[in-house]
Subunit: 123 residues, 2 copies
Amino acid sequence: MYEKKIPENLDCGISVCMKVMGGKWKAWIIECIHDGIKRPSKIHRQMETEGASLRVITMHLKELEDLGVLYKKIYPGTPLRVEYYLTEVGMSTLPLIKAMSQWGREKRAYLLQGERNAYLATN
Amino acid sequence: MYEKKIPENLDCGISVCMKVMGGKWKAWIIECIHDGIKRPSKIHRQMETEGASLRVITMHLKELEDLGVLYKKIYPGTPLRVEYYLTEVGMSTLPLIKAMSQWGREKRAYLLQGERNAYLATN
DNA sequence: TCGGGCATGGAAAAATTTTTCACTATACAC
DNA sequence: GTGTATAGTGAAAAATTTTTCCATGCCCGA
């Protein structure tokens, strides 16, 4: 387990939000589960074309579960089956994720068009 | 300059959004500038209590300028003065940042309360 | 019995981000 | 002259995240 060396500062709402939705794959995992893809192996199959490793998915699922964003249902027996669901707080991320996603789609072309020049103030 | 080894995938709106607002300090820098703290040295003084280095602020300002989220006004002369402002697209991040910040503040207590237990399905 | 799928975890490597430090250059105040 | 302030860069170190690889344990099908 990796231990932080610089203590996390979660005083600020943005840091808290980023802890849940930041990172390379977390928002996608939340979206997957919302879309009904609730088992780790399925989530992985959904995202491995994009390059997500199963390991990182496992780690994020655990982290999101510990935060109370997801809850986990275990079906005992073999092969062991597990399903993740959004908690109420998990659901409350959806409008935000949708808004971020839409903003990104809307602004992408502009943002990626290249470098800009500075203005020279002449006063 | 650091060169990416895994190509960035910006097909997805969330990745684009995270490119602008993710990272440890970017959202704060945008907020600072919106609050009228527009010069690098001022921004640094504002955030150094939190641990932000001047270097990372400089780098993020440049990145956000290249993306067209900020524009830069240069006042020639010495000491050289520079001011950053939000572009129209920069402004459009504000509702999102506000929403993230508010969400984080609202859910912080819940999210940080500790680990959770899985449900054992009994069917 | 061998190979597959299931969920998960340790450990190390690789990739990326952030920090720290050293440096440029100019002008002003003391 | 020395110290300060301005904005910025390069290089290396440190911190963090993500990937890769390997291992566990169990059952099912060939």
